[in-house]
């Protein structure tokens, strides 16, 4: 899956949880008021379910922007450690 496709796949999840109309490179935890601590947990759980993956606790705290989340997904879905 390309990065562009990943943005598109995550967008409906982000729209539902973070209530944002668009999920792109401009989106990050600090520019999105709804992306608070509880919604961070909800967002990652929904992404795990969608892609049937498990996001490690060692990584979860770094995934604070759309770019970082998509980059992480891109790597893990390609089988990168």
């Amino acid at each position: 899956m390309t990065r562009q496709e990943l943005y598109a796949e995550v967008a409906p999840i982000a729209a539902q949880i973070l209530r944002i109309p668009q999920f792109d490179s401009a989106v990050n935890m600090h520019s999105t008021p709804e992306w608070d601590s509880l919604n961070h947990v909800r967002l990652l759980s929904a992404v795990e379910k969608k892609f049937a993956i498990e996001i490690g606790a060692d990584e979860a705290f770094k995934l604070t922007s759309a770019d970082r989340l998509v980059e992480y997904l891109h790597g893990i879905l390609r089988g990168e450690p």
């Binding site: 935890m29 520019s31 601590s37 509880l38 990652l44 490690g56 705290f61």
Partner: protein
């Protein structure tokens, strides 16, 4: 120096004998650098940046040199950063020059940030470029400089001795920070705290919990609040320990993994964080954390018991407020000495008492307003003389919080005076109702509020 020899405000005097070992916060940092320059001091897992005491001291001096070229000594600056090295570099750099720091919540709307910057008389604002969009809307409206600061690595190295020699003499009573707190109505109010306030509160809490250079704190609260600045930062610094800083919004799922990876032994949280952690899987090591400080809201006893049973981490409740630097009382340490449900006994730097509506001191077991006095109490509210006269009167800070003391000297927090529900003359604390609701297994959080009633009042 003996605190009694300092020019104290009436509400900063107490019956305690208190020694102030450092004249200012920079002296505190320098003393710890001298003790163990190569000891690890600050850790930022998100960007994998680690700093020893010596390394960060030099960074703070470099920041101080930059500030010297932009702001006058003893001026005031606003800072808008996340929990990053850049926040702490500007903070330590500024206070070395006697500059008052106004930490600003980056989640506030531009209009709210503008109010704080103008109300506190900031001469300049330093900010994380990630907040450029927010700051950009303020710049044209405001007559001061805005300085983006992306990375401490961009600060030019300095000659340590030359910069140290350029630092002004900063007194214990010099303003250190103005921390804005939200009220129930109107604009936020700025609480002015001095170097003496933070140092004494930090030392008292470090001693209370027997923190040592081996202590490693994990800070999951924002640095723009006094809790992050005093409990995590100042208290651990006073012990010569090290601090792991995590973004508060991203920390919940990773909390125990970070505690394990960095060997954290001490932290400070709000009750809502404990409730959230209880809902998440636990893969950590029971008993790694030796103390969790908890305050800011009422902690339901059932929540504390469930948390301790599952994680093996003792919770220490305390009573505090920004106006008293942070905490003024704590449950006794070690854990077996605690009285659960209590906010503990008063710290040995201040006095507390309970008063009625006419300011008469009440006997043990009687509920009233909790008051504090001592050198941890703030200089006052910034530019709010009427509020200062109301809250800092008769040599005491009147907290607006209700509670009582038992015969053993343990204090119990009942709730905010403003939140009290008075039904037909009967006083009901929202927490009394919330505590019952929270015992139900399907209730994670609850809130009780008074509703107007034509007969009973509420």
């Amino acid at each position: 120096m003996n605190v009694e020899t300092l020019p104290l405000l009436p509400h900063q005097k107490s019956n305690c004998k208190v020694e102030l070992p450092y004249a200012n916060y920079h002296e505190l940092l320098k003393a710890k650098v001298t003790e163990a320059p190569s000891r690890e001091f600050l850790i930022f897992p998100e960007t994998d940046r680690h700093y020893t005491y010596q390394q960060f001291y030099e960074i703070s001096l470099a920041a101080s040199e930059w500030l010297r070229s932009e702001v006058r000594d003893f001026g005031t600056i606003g800072i808008i950063f996340r929990n990053t090295p850049e926040f702490l570099a500007i903070y330590f750099g500024a206070i070395a020059r006697g500059i008052t720091v106004v930490p600003i919540n980056h989640d506030l709307a531009p209009a709210e940030i503008r109010f704080i910057v103008e109300n506190s008389d900031c001469e300049a604002v330093f900010y994380d470029p990630n907040f450029e969009a927010k700051v950009a809307s303020l710049k044209p409206q405001m007559g001061m400089a805005f300085h983006p600061f992306a990375d401490v690595a961009n600060l030019p190295p300095v000659d340590v001795h030359k910069t140290e020699a350029s630092l002004p003499r900063v007194e214990p009573s010099t303003r250190l920070v103005i921390i804005y707190t939200s009220g129930t109505t109107g604009n936020p109010k700025g609480v002015v705290l001095s170097h003496m306030n933070f140092i004494l509160d930090g030392i008292a809490i470090a001693d209370w919990f027997e923190l040592t250079p081996a202590t490693r704190s994990i800070c999951v609260l924002p640095l723009f609040h006094n809790n992050g600045l005093v409990i995590s930062t100042t208290t651990t610094l006073c012990a010569g320990g090290s601090i792991v800083f995590v973004d508060p919004k991203a920390s919940l799922r990773s909390f125990w993994a970070l505690v394990d990876r960095y060997g954290a032994t001490f932290t400070s949280v709000m009750p809502s964080i404990l409730a959230a952690l209880l809902m998440l899987p636990f893969q950590g090591k029971r008993g790694q954390i030796k103390g969790i400080i908890c305050g800011g809201q009422l902690l339901p006893l059932s929540l504390a018991e469930k948390f301790e049973e599952r994680f093996g981490a003792p919770i220490f409740e305390g009573f505090g407020s920004t106006e008293a630097s942070s905490y003024s009382s704590f449950n006794r340490f070690p854990p077996e000495r605690r009285k659960l449900g209590s906010v503990g006994v008063v710290l040995p730097i201040c006095d507390m008492k309970v008063v009625d509506d006419e300011d008469n001191e009440l006997p043990d077991g009687t509920e009233g307003e909790l008051c504090i006095r001592g050198p941890n109490c703030a200089i006052g509210y910034h530019r709010l003389p009427e509020l200062n006269a109301k809250k800092f009167r008769d040599g005491w800070y009147h907290s607006g919080d209700y509670g009582l003391r038992d015969a053993e000297g343990n204090y119990y927090f009942r709730g905010r005076k403003d939140d009290l529900i008075i039904k037909g003359g009967e006083k009901i604390y929202p927490a009394e109702i919330e505590n019952v609701l929270s015992q139900h297994p399907n209730v994670s959080e609850s809130a009780a509020i008074g509703v107007d009633d034509p007969i009973l009042g509420q």
